[in-house]
């Protein structure tokens, strides 16, 4: 089995991790530095929303926003923000809440609907997109263009996910700096650390790739993948599950460390389910997740762990991918999805699957094609 015969979109993007992060970094920070001071000071609550990977980027960036800006930050589902959110959260004060809306193409109907609802209440809205004259950008007060080359290979991918996260980190740092929650020293250090953390991670990418290919060979025949992660790491878990579905359409499920013990512990054929656990020493639920990992050991499932802790912290039967330990823990979700991205990409290549069922016309009919853009938009006031 020669790995080079099974190259794939996710693997190619993972190898260019640092390159893309730099492009987005150079593009977003100057734009974010233009965000006006008064509205940043008016924001008493922050919502980050989007669909699919964009929504997950919001969940992944929650720890960053809460640590750096000290403002209550929520990452609701787009459908919940636009339709279910009680309107007591909106319009109670000028320019608040700050609503950050993410859509790479800027055309996702639901996210535009969220932007319209937020604007109706005088909330401050910032779009994160790669298309500055998209309908989303038009419906938002400010637009952060992530600056990725148009023709890049991003689907199925991780580049737009990382791009959204870098833009979110930039906004969080700007808010933290303006509201004096982080000192000028910390601000400069965090900006520098963001790049050095990614370049350190880039050095380990080829090691991840080799080991991930071995895992892919072992896991190719499994019935399903089950992902476990808490809070910010729940996004990394959910992202892994989304990649499985996008690349080879496999069965997956995901949960947090506590609820997994109450529900997914009972899944049938545990030996045929590959578990992917994200557990960082820097996480407040690190000790709880260790207990969950022991329960996984009891089930004798094939298990892969992504962690900033050393291999020795975990049962030896488990495949541990130790990632670079960041100075600021909230940067972990930026790179901790890489190991499993390789696994998903290689399993798909080994199974001969094309991403997004491109070869199956049922998935590419007109109805299927504009399922995200068309559809009724309703304004709940």
């Amino acid at each position: 089995m020669n790995r080079n015969d099974y190259d794939n979109s996710l693997a190619r993007q993972a190898r260019r991790l640092e390159e893309y992060v730099k492009i987005v970094y150079e593009s977003v920070f100057p734009q974010v530095d233009q965000l006006p001071v008064k509205e940043i000071w008016d924001a008493q609550k922050i919502f980050i929303t989007g669909c699919g990977d964009s929504w997950l980027a919001g969940i992944a960036a929650k720890p960053a926003f809460e640590s750096v800006t000290k403002i209550e930050t929520n990452a609701p589902r787009a459908i919940d923000f636009s339709r279910a959110l009680s309107n007591k959260n909106l319009g109670y004060s000028p320019n608040t809440p700050l609503v950050i809306l993410i859509s790479y193409s800027g055309t996702a109907a639901r996210v535009i609907e969220c932007a319209k609802r937020a604007s109706k209440y005088g909330a401050n809205t910032i779009a994160i997109t790669n298309n500055p004259n998209s309908p989303l950008a038009e419906n938002c007060r400010y637009c952060i263009h992530v600056g990725l080359p148009e023709d890049g290979e991003y689907q199925p991918g991780l580049t737009t996910y990382n791009a959204s996260m870098i833009a979110l980190f930039a906004i969080a740092l700007r808010i933290g700096r303006i509201r004096n929650k982080i000192t000028p020293l910390e601000y400069e250090d965090m900006k520098k650390e963001l790049l050095s953390f990614v370049s350190e991670a880039q050095k380990k990418v080829s090691e991840y790739e080799e080991r991930a290919f071995e895992t892919a060979l072992k896991w190719k025949g499994l019935k399903a993948e089950d992902f476990i992660g808490d809070y910010g790491d729940y996004a990394t878990a959910f992202f892994g599950s989304a990649k499985v579905i996008e690349t080879f359409g496999g069965y997956t499920t995901y949960d947090d460390s506590e609820d997994w013990c109450h529900i997914n512990y009972f899944l049938a054929d545990p030996e045929k389910i590959g578990r992917v656990v994200i557990n960082n020493e820097s996480s407040p639920s690190y000790d709880r997740m260790l207990e969950t990992i022991n329960a996984v050991k009891i089930l004798k499932s094939p298990c892969m762990i992504v962690s900033d802790a050393k291999k020795e912290a975990f049962p030896e039967t488990m495949e541990v991918f130790t990632t670079v330990k960041p100075k600021y823990f909230w940067m972990n979700p930026l790179i901790q999805h890489i190991p499993f991205d390789f696994v998903a990409g290689y399993i798909a290549a080994l199974k001969g699957e094309t991403g997004f069922r491109a070869d199956d016309e049922r998935y590419n009919s007109d109805l299927a094609k504009n399922r995200l853009k068309s559809g009724t938009q309703i304004l709940i006031i």
Binding site: Q34, V37, K38, N180, P184
Partner: protein, 138 residues
């Protein structure tokens, strides 16, 4: 004869750090007996001040008055952190360099006034320089 020495300093928030010792050090090192010593910082949100050497409490008064005159408002035209925007104004108004007379190898203001590094947007890593210009012999 011109002698320039650079210094580094890590400041705190609203800090006023007495840097007279480093000015004397530069003068001694230069060997210059009579002339002037210019103390300057190239940062746009910091400054160099000469403050009476008679009491620490004066420093608190100075910091409070500076903040009263130039409050760290959120509606400055300059779109940066309030302390940063106010810092630019303070630095411009209160000056970022002083020239001190050196007489017989010593500062004229020795014992009466001290030289302070004023941090208007800290904590930060800062640099400043002392340029001693004059003659060595009497």
């Amino acid at each position: 004869m011109v002698f320039i020495k650079d210094f580094e300093i890590t400041t705190g928030k609203n800090s006023l750090d007495n840097i007279t010792a480093s000015v004397n050090e530069a003068i001694k090192e230069s060997g210059i007996l009579n002339g002037i010593a210019v103390v300057e910082t190239a940062h746009s949100t910091a400054g160099i001040l000469m403050i009476s050497a008679y009491g620490k409490e004066i420093l608190d008064d100075i910091v409070k008055e500076m903040r009263r005159i130039i409050p760290a408002r959120i509606n400055f035209s300059h779109q940066d952190a309030p302390e940063d925007s106010a810092g630019h104004i303070k630095s411009a108004l209160f000056g970022s360099s002083v020239s001190l007379i050196v007489k017989e190898g010593k500062l004229l203001c020795e014992g009466k006034q001290d030289v302070y590094f004023a941090e208007y947007d800290g904590p930060r890593n800062r640099t400043y320089s002392v340029c001693v210009n004059g003659e060595k012999e009497g």
